[in-house]
Structures are given as C-alpha cells and as structure tokens.
C-alpha cells in the first residue's frame, strides 16, 4: 500500500531538485564543455518555473474552498506558511543566479557546479518549509546545508573560500548532529515523527511522563536551528563564512538559508510545540535579546563590509526570533514579513558588495566605499536605501518589519523584550550610518572611519582628511547590467512596499501556519 502522492504539491522540488540532477547528469555525459552562461540560464529557467509553481500553490492554498493540504501520507504540508517561505527561498536562489555571472567571470566560479548546488540547496529549503514530519524536516535541512557547505568552498583557488567551507562544514555538521539527537528524543517522547501527531500528543499531555526527554529534545533542536539562523552564541561561523565565501553564495545564504532555517524553527516551535510554549518562550526570548544586542555591537566595531553585513544578519535573526517568541499567529506573520523583506535587502546588499570586489588580502575594508556617491551615484543610492532599510528607517520595508515584530512582542506582553530590541535597533542604526556616511561625506584618502575612529571614543570629532581635496582618481565602479538589475529590483521592492506596506502585510498575514492539516 503506497501513500497517494499529489505531484503538483511537489512541483517546486521537482523543478529545483530534479532539474539540478538532470543538469548534473547531462554535464557529465556531454563531452563538449558547455559555454559558461548555459548552466546559469538553465538555472534561472528552473527557478522561474519553481517560482511559477509556488505562485500557483499560493493561489490554491488561499482559495477558501480548498485551503491547506498535505500529501505523501501527511509528511508534506502545503499551507500558506510553507508556500510563503518556499517563495522566499526560490527568490533568493533566482536573484543570486541572476547576478552570479559577474562572480563566475571575475572569480572563476565553476558555473555548472554553482547552478546545480544552488538549485539543490533551494530544493532542500523548499522541502524544509513544507515538511510535516521530522524525517522530512531532517532531509530538507541536510540537503539545504550540505549543498551550502560546498557553495561556501566553491571558489576553490581562494584560501578564504576554502576556510569558509571548512568552518561552515565542521560547525554545521556538529550543529546538525545536535538537531538530530533532539529529533530522536522528540520521537521517543511523543511516539511519532509526524508533526501533527506530535502536536496532538503534546496537547493530550503525552509528554508528561517523559517531560525531561521532551524538553531536552527542545533544547537540542533549538541548538541545531539556532545555528542555521545564526543566533548568538551559535553564530560564530557567520562572519567568517560571509567574508570568505563567494558573494552570490553568501547572498543566497543570508536570504534563503536563513529563511529555511526559520521555516523549521517556526514550524516546530510556533506550530507543533505551541502547546508547551510556556517552556520554550523564555529561552527564545533570552537568545533573541542576546542576538539583537550582540549583532549590533559586533557590527559597530567591524572593519570589513562583508563581516559588517554578517553581523547585521545576526542582528536581524534576533529580531525575527522576537517574532517567534511571541508564539502566536501575529508573531509568526511578523517573522515571515521580516524574512521576506530581509531577503531583498540581503540580496541587494551582497550584490553591491560583490561588485566592490576584494583587496589583496581578500577582504573589503569600509574605506572602499569612501566617496562612492561621487564615483557611482546610482550604486551608492541603491546601497544607501538597502542599508537604511536594514536600519529600520520609515518609508522602507525594514521599518514595517521591525514594527510588526516588536508590535507582536508588545501584544504578547513581553514589554522588556520589545524595549531591549528597540535599543538594539537604535544601536544598529550606527552600523549602517557608518557606511552611508562614508559613501556620501568622506572623501577617498581620508583615513579615519568617520563615525568609528578609535581616537575620539565615538569618533564624532575627527574625519582627518589627508591628501588633496579633489584627487578622486578612482574610476567609477563598473556595474554589469545583471547586478544593476538585482540592486534596482531589491531597492525598488524595499522602497515601494515601504511606502505602501498594505499588500505585503496582507501577504504575510495570509501565510498562516496550519498545524493540524488533513
């Protein structure tokens, strides 16, 4: 007796996973080396197809007469939540593929491997988002991660990329092992791996005789997932990997892998384990606060733009955790909104970081941005917008994301969490301002970091400027059309839905989590 399979529900996985396997197979069978752009174009085509099927699923799920449904004996659940996050993951892969040719040409990334791994990882992310069984969840997580480890190390010749791959792999496998142990304990405590059965068992008080096992399972699951979303103190890999890995891969990680990690976290804790939210909420609250504050504080001292964005992504993870902490439908949709808008900010920002290149030591000091507004005004404008959105300024999507998340915390009466995360947001604003100031106010050749020089404590007093005033001999940054397109799209989304947030808020509000699907 085999379970019925609703193939349409698996279309994104088929396009992404199946497509990438076909590409891989053809790549080994065909003797003649394909032109560099072919895998890229194929990848874009497959992600577009996957995106189309996600949209189709969304329409189907939102149709009140049909609603959420599950398939393959209830192990895969297609609900608003799953479709929304699948969409985020697919968009992340799509935009990363669009601007990847720059890196493929410049840094010599292997084009075929890049496309295949990205598609595989996205297939894992989509699986993770729609998983309704601990086994499927684990499979999705591993497919997502193992492909991401290789993506990080893909720039084979650069030592930094190797190092990023190694660190990501060792720590990631370590964290996955914790996750698995937790999953096993949950299975033992609830007697099933099906999430809806686990939720039903919890609600019926099944865990009460094995409460220690259940809660230990929570702890270990949290370790594994906190690692994926880069929450402090499980974050330490993030800056190193973001600095070393190839930029398109990093953009995908920040946008897609993070969204997939949160998919698992939200599905498990806000969904399946909601009956015991009193147990896990304090732990999530503490980690959220530490993450927000540490992310902001580390960003303030960072001297490299990639690391700065890595710390900022840690801080953003903290805010999304604040949404998880409120353990309700409002908090979940706030977290989803945050993930959705952050994906665009991250993709756009890393596209800019990619074209700004690396110095001889493989890093990208803040000084690279001095006076960028004069050299490449449009690039600077787009980047400024994305940074301000990350800082949470009004009229950008970032504002609404923070607003919704903190509003959810207030509604669930966790006032202290709301207050402390606001404080984190204030501190984090410095981080982004530093870069904006450099682009607009500092002339190249100045050696002080305008806002963060060591000499004056807060660096308000000196922008010591050396060299003659108008010796801006650096040429404008060459921005290929693909990169310009991605930055423009991301900035436009950020600005447009910042001014008119209603559709986006509705979208996230409709992306509901169906715990007991049938």
């Amino acid at each position: 007796m085999s379970p019925s399979v609703d193939w349409a529900a698996l279309l994104p996985q088929i396009f992404l996973g199946g497509g990438s396997l076909v590409m891989l197979t053809l790549g080994t069978l065909v003797r003649k080396r394909a032109p560099w752009w072919l895998p890229n174009v194929l990848g874009i085509g497959l992600t577009l197809a996957a995106f189309g099927s996600v949209v189709w699923q969304w329409v189907r799920v939102q149709d009140p007469s049909r609603g959420a449904f599950s398939t393959i004996a209830g192990t895969v659940q297609i609900d608003g939540f799953a479709v929304f996050l699948s969409g985020v993951v697919v968009i992340a892969a799509l935009l990363a593929l669009v601007f990847a040719p720059f890196s493929i040409r410049r840094a010599g990334l292997p084009p075929e491997e890049f496309s295949v791994l990205l598609l595989l990882s996205a297939a894992g992310g989509v699986t993770l988002a729609s998983a309704n069984d601990l086994i499927v969840l684990f499979l999705g997580l591993e497919v997502l991660s193992i492909a991401a480890y290789v993506l990080a190390a893909l720039d084979l010749r650069r030592a930094g990329s190797q190092e990023a791959g190694l660190k990501y792999f060792v720590l990631g496998a370590f964290a996955s092992a914790f996750f698995l142990y937790g999953a096993a304990l949950i299975y033992g405590a609830a007697g099933s791996t099906k999430l809806d059965s686990v939720a039903a068992a919890l609600a019926a008080g099944a865990g009460s005789n094995a409460r220690g096992m259940l809660l230990a399972g929570f702890a270990l699951l949290l370790v594994g997932l906190f690692f994926k979303v880069a929450a402090v103190p499980f974050h330490a890999w993030t800056p190193d990997v973001y600095e070393g890995a190839p930029s398109p891969a990093v953009a995908y990680m920040a946008a897609g892998v993070k969204a997939a990690g949160f998919a698992a976290l939200l599905r498990l804790f806000a969904g399946t384990f909601s009956a015991s939210s009193a147990d896990w909420r304090p732990a999530v609250a503490v980690v959220a606060v530490i993450t927000v504050l540490a992310g902001s504080a580390l960003g303030v001292i960072s001297g490299d733009v990639r690391r700065l964005l890595a710390y900022s992504s840690i801080g953003h993870a903290g805010f999304i955790l604040v949404g998880l902490e409120s353990a309700g439908a409002n908090g979940t949709s706030a977290s989803l909104l945050y993930l959705g808008v952050y994906a665009f900010m991250a993709l756009g920002s890393f596209a800019v970081v990619m074209v700004m290149g690396r110095d001889a030591s493989g890093s990208q000091p803040l000084a690279a941005y001095d006076g960028l507004a004069r050299r490449s005004p449009w690039l600077a404008l787009g980047f400024t917008l994305l940074l301000l959105a990350q800082a949470g300024l009004p009229f950008t999507t970032g504002f609404w994301a923070k607003f919704e998340v903190i509003g959810a915390a207030v509604q669930s009466r966790t006032y202290w969490l709301a207050a402390v995360s606001m404080l984190g947001a204030v501190v984090a604003a410095f981080v982004y301002l530093r870069l904006v100031v450099r682009m607009y106010l500092v002339r190249p050749g100045a050696d002080g970091d305008a806002l963060a020089s060591q000499k004056s404590g807060v660096g308000l007093a000196d922008d010591s400027r050396s060299g003659d005033e108008d010796s801006d001999s650096r040429p404008p940054v060459a921005v290929p059309r693909s990169v310009g397109f991605v930055v423009a799209v991301c900035a436009a989304v950020t600005l447009f839905f910042g001014v008119w947030p209603a559709p986006l808020l509705n979208l996230a509000g409709d992306a509901t989590l169906a715990v007991l699907g049938g």
């Binding site: 060792v170 720590l171 809660l215 896990w280 509003g407 204030v426 209603a502």
Partner: protein
C-alpha cells in the same frame, strides 16, 4: 466642514515642490528653484488660512475634524490610517509653521545665492516643511512618527549641507545620534500605547482607559522622545553643534519649528498628562528648569553669535516645557508661537550680520554695526526686546503667562524661571550691544559691513512686525481677549490650568517680570556699554576687554561668578557631552569583548556552540524539574 477637509492641500504643496525639485531642480537653476519652493510653501500657508476659516465657522465643540486620506496599514486588529487631525492645536501649528517657513524661504533665495547646490537646498527645505506638517497633522502616532523621523533626517541633511566642511558633517552626525535616543523613547511610547489601548490614534488613546502606571510609562517615554527632539537636558548637546548648518536652517528647523515638536507632542497628550501621576509634572518642570537655567548661563559666556542664539533657544524651550509641566498648556503654545517669530527673526538677522561681515560669527569681532546695517539693527532690536520680555513686545506676554502658570503651580519654580528670564534679558542685551553698538572691533580690510539685499530684509521686517505684535493673540486682561486660550480649549479639553488667583496677583507678577527684564537690560548696559573705551584709544585694550568678557560677568555676579560660569561650561563639555559619548561608546566596548570569541579558530566556535547547548540544556532540564 468642507473647508477643513481641504487640509490635504497643506502638506501636498511642499511635497509637490519636493517632487518638482527632484526632477527638474538642476534644470531650473538658481533663482527659479528657490522661487518654486517658496511658492509651494506659500500655497501651503494659504491653504492653512482656508482651513482656519473653515474651522472658525464651526462651533467650538465641533472643531475637531479627522480627515482620512486612505487606510494605510489595515491588518487584522491593527490598523493605521493616513489621516489628518484638524483641530485648533494642529491648525495653530500649521499656521505658524507654514507662515514662518514661507518667510524663511524668501530669505533663503537671497542668502543661498551662488551656492553650487542651490536647488538641493530648497529641495531639503520643502521636504522638511512636508515632514513637519505630517508631524503636527497626523491623527495617529504612526503618521506623527513618520514626520518625526522625516524632520530628523532633513535636519541631518541640512546641517551637513555644506558637507565639504568637516564640522558640518560631524555636527550632522551628532544631531542624528542624539535624536535616535529620543526616537527610541517615541517608539517605545508608541508600542506601549498600542499594547495598552489597542490603537495608535490620538482620539483612541486620549479617550481610552488604561492603568495609571501604563499611562505614566507611555508619557515618560514620550518625554524622552520630546527631550531629544526639543533639546532638553541632557539631550540638548546636539543643538549648539547643529549651528554649523546654513543660517536659514538654524532659523527654520533649530529655532522655530522642529525643536518645538516635543512641546507639541506633550501638549497633544495633555489630557493624558492631567490624569496620570502628578509627579510627572514635577519631572517635566525639573528637567525644564535645569535646561532653562543651564542654557541661559552658557549663552552668557558664548561668543559665537549663532551659539548664543542656540543656547537661548534651548533655554526658551525649557520655558515651554516648564509651562507644560505646570499645566499651563496654552502658555506653552503661546510662547511657542511668539518664540517662533522672534527667534526666527533673530537668527535671520544674525544671518544678515554674518552675511554683511563676510562670514565672521565671533561677536568679539563685531561692534558698532548699527549705523551700517540699519534695517538689520532695527529688526534685531525688536527681536531682542521681544525675547527679553519688554512690554508690549510679544515675548513679554507669553513669558508672563508661563510665569503666572508657574506661580500657580509652585512658587520656587516661578522664582527660578524669573531668574532665567533675567538672565535672558542679560545675555540678549550683551549680544545686542556687542554686535551693533560700542566700538568697531573689526578691521575695514577684513570686513565690509553692508546692509543685506531686499529679499533678506523684507522677511526680517515681516517677522519683526509679528514679533512685536503677536502678544495680542492672548492678552491676559480678561477672558474675552484671551483669544488663543479660548481657541485652543477644545484641543486641550478643560484641563488647561487656570491660575487660581485674583487679578491683583496677575499684575504683581507682570510687574515682577518687567522688573526682571529691566534688571537684565540695565546690567548689560552697565557692563557692556558704560565704561566703554573710545575706539581710537588702543585697539588692543579693546580686544582684551572684549575677550575678557567673563571678567565683566564675574564682576557682575561677584566673587565666585567666573568660577561658576566656567564650571558650568566645563560641566557642559565634559559631563553631559562626555556622558553622551560614553553611552555611544558602550556598544563598541561590548563589541570588543564579544570579538574575543571571534578568534578565527573552529575549536573556539564549536566551544561557544557547545556552551550555548549546555546552557539551553540546563535551562530546559531545570524547567522539566530534573
């Protein structure tokens, strides 16, 4: 009704100006972009007058109209509209904001002449006016917050306008950072209000019911926000530095409009303020007094003409906050309006002086300009008499009302405010005398003082007329002539404190205020004009005397005077400034500590991960009762 609904024109006009200047600013070029911006604000002012007429045609209790443009964020149980609240308070605000802005725009057309970024300057100015209007017109905290952030951003942009100049960029950053602290308070208040009342609209919050402690918490957070924006102790540090921007910006943003938005916010919440814990009023007056007194003494020792005016603004904002704390909300708004007139006037006149003196801002390098710049001198003189509190100029009436409110609240506060009023008269007279009278302390080859062009003097004259006569808005003689008080009543509810004393006390209080003003003027005359050394004697002695200004001050105050003033100045520079810096440096320190974990070794990272796992495990096992 119908007329009041035209309110959307008021913010729209400057917004159109912004759009036009963004698109065609560079093509329009020098005078035309300025004229366009001025016209936009002019239309806005005209529309405000129309709205005023519309509101006046309504009965008193109907004078609160909410105009919803569209529902902006409609989500589940949370919804916020882009709506405007048209009531006497907001209309009073938009009238003086658009009026003063229009005059300052006219002035800027000439003042910014020849600047390479001329169109951009007007673009920012229009953007500022738009944001400011949004701030005061919003019918809920969210719209107000957008305006609040917008004015902050414009302030930042305009301070750093000449960003080639280092000080400007640094000052802009300082303003940005201090304002973030205030924004933090505003946001917290917003979330608490939403949590407690389930709505962000003013009507919902002011009519809603919540625990007293919640209301107090919301108001405390709002106060933090207001203190940041309105430069109250200890968050005032950014305002003097903000003077690095162009002078019309100082007049518009850092004197007349933006810095009063904190006062506006607290007055808007006055019904809530009345109902909450009574000690809140003491907190507000306490902070206000500290601000008013501290800033007045620093103004006495400052030598940069714009810095003197900046500290004076801080001090006057302290007066307004004191009025709010004492429950004299009408007086606070009244002083806000008259202050907008005379402080904008003083700044613009100072700009005219700076313009005439070729950029020199040090009052020790001025002197005897009265004959060379007659219009400027005359108009500055009007502003001087108004701020010093000399009847019948406007400042006298509004300050008198604040003092009367303070008398009714607490006599000690009244006494301290009176002292601050005396100091105001003293430092403003010092500024007046050192600038326009006495010997010339400049070389003819350094500067060629001359009267400014017509476009600059006409706004000066208009503002001077307003500063001289705005007292008639609210005369204390009988309830019938308290126009502003009666007009604002619907917005403030019936909470605005009526001084509980007879007419006789009022006259005594007014006399005391006049005596204080006269004492300040006389003291300044004695110090800075009498005993003056003829210019032809020895220039060096003159300079020495001018530079030794705090000797004169200490002679006046007696023995410890000098020590006191320099101690205050040091307090300002080290403690307050330093505290702000320390707070700003905190994340850096924390980051430095955290960075040690980040030593690049996989083992260290794995250890952090395992430690986190152990911590989570311990928490959950304790939770499970094992």
């Amino acid at each position: 009704m119908a007329l009041a609904e035209l309110i959307w024109v008021v913010p729209l006009a400057p917004l159109v100006g912004v759009a036009a200047l963004t698109l065609f600013g560079r093509r329009l070029g020098e005078p035309r972009s300025g004229q366009l911006a001025t016209a936009a604000v002019g239309i806005s002012f005209a529309a405000s007058l129309v709205v005023l007429g519309g509101l006046l045609s309504l009965d008193g209790h109907e004078r609160s109209v909410v105009v919803k443009l569209f529902s902006w964020v409609p989500i589940g149980d949370f919804s916020a509209d882009l709506g405007f609240l048209v009531d006497p308070l907001s209309v009073t605000m938009i009238l003086f904001i658009t009026g003063v802005s229009a005059l300052i725009h006219v002035y800027s057309i000439a003042y910014m002449h020849g600047d390479e970024n001329y169109p951009r300057f007007f673009l920012y100015l229009n953007l500022f006016v738009f944001s400011m209007l949004l701030l005061v017109l919003g019918d809920n905290l969210l719209v107000t917050f957008l305006g609040w952030e917008g004015v902050g951003a414009c302030s930042y942009l305009l301070i750093s306008f000449w960003y080639g100049e280092e000080a400007n960029a640094v000052a802009g950053k300082k303003a940005f950072i201090t304002n973030r602290v205030g924004d933090f308070g505003f946001l917290l208040a917003m979330f608490f209000a939403f949590g407690a009342y389930g709505t962000l609209s003013y009507a919902g919050i002011l009519e809603g019911h919540a625990a007293n402690s919640t209301a107090t918490a919301i108001l405390l957070c709002l106060m933090l926000g207001a203190a940041g924006k309105s430069a109250q102790f200890p968050l005032y540090v950014w305002l003097p530095d903000a003077m690095a921007g162009p002078t019309p910006v100082s007049a518009l943003i850092h004197a007349a409009t933006m810095v009063t938005s904190g006062v506006y916010l607290l007055v808007r919440f006055s019904p809530l303020l009345e109902e909450s814990s009574p000690w809140l009023g003491d907190v507000i007056t306490g902070v206000a007094l500290a601000t008013a007194a501290l800033a007045a003494t620093i103004a006495l020792a400052a030598s940069d003409i714009k810095k003197v005016l900046a500290y004076s603004t801080i001090s006057q904002l302290g007066f307004m906050f004191a009025a709010v704390g004492a429950g004299a909300y009408t007086a606070a708004i009244f002083h806000m309006v008259t202050h907008a007139f005379f402080k904008a006037l003083l700044f613009l006149a100072a700009g005219s002086v700076i313009h005439g003196m070729g950029g020199q801002q040090d009052i020790r390098r001025y002197g005897g300009l009265a004959r060379l710049m007659p219009v400027t001198t005359l108009t500055f003189g009007v502003g001087w008499l108004a701020i010093a509190g000399v009847p019948p100029f406007s400042g006298f009436w509004s300050k008198d009302e604040i003092l009367a409110g303070a008398w009714g609240y607490n006599k000690v506060i009244w006494a301290l405010l009176l002292l601050a009023a005396l100091l105001t008269a003293l430092y403003m007279s010092r500024l007046m005398f050192l600038t326009f009278f006495g010997e010339r302390r400049w070389n003819a080859d350094e500067a060629d003082p001359h009267e400014s062009p017509r476009l600059m003097t006409i706004p000066l004259i208009a503002l001077a007329a307003l500063a001289a006569t705005a007292g008639v808005l609210n005369l204390p003689f009988s309830h019938g002539v308290e126009f502003l008080g009666r007009w604002l009543e619907p917005s403030l509810g019936h909470h605005s404190a009526e001084p509980g004393f007879g007419g006789g006390t009022k006259w005594v209080l007014a006399a005391a205020a006049i005596v204080a003003a006269a004492a300040g003027l006389l003291a300044a005359w004695a110090i800075y004009l009498r005993g003056r050394v003829p210019p032809e004697k020895i220039e060096r002695r003159v300079f020495a005397r001018a530079w030794g200004y705090d000797d004169a001050v200490s002679n006046f105050v007696g023995g410890p005077g000098k020590g006191l003033f320099s101690a205050l100045a040091r307090f300002d520079a080290s403690v307050v400034d330093g505290a702000v810096k320390q707070v700003a440096a905190l994340p850096r320190r924390a980051g430095g500590l955290l960075r040690r974990v980040q030593n690049g070794l996989v083992r260290r990272y794995a250890l952090a991960l395992a430690a986190g796992a152990v911590a989570l495990m311990i928490y959950f096992l304790v939770r499970a009762g094992l």
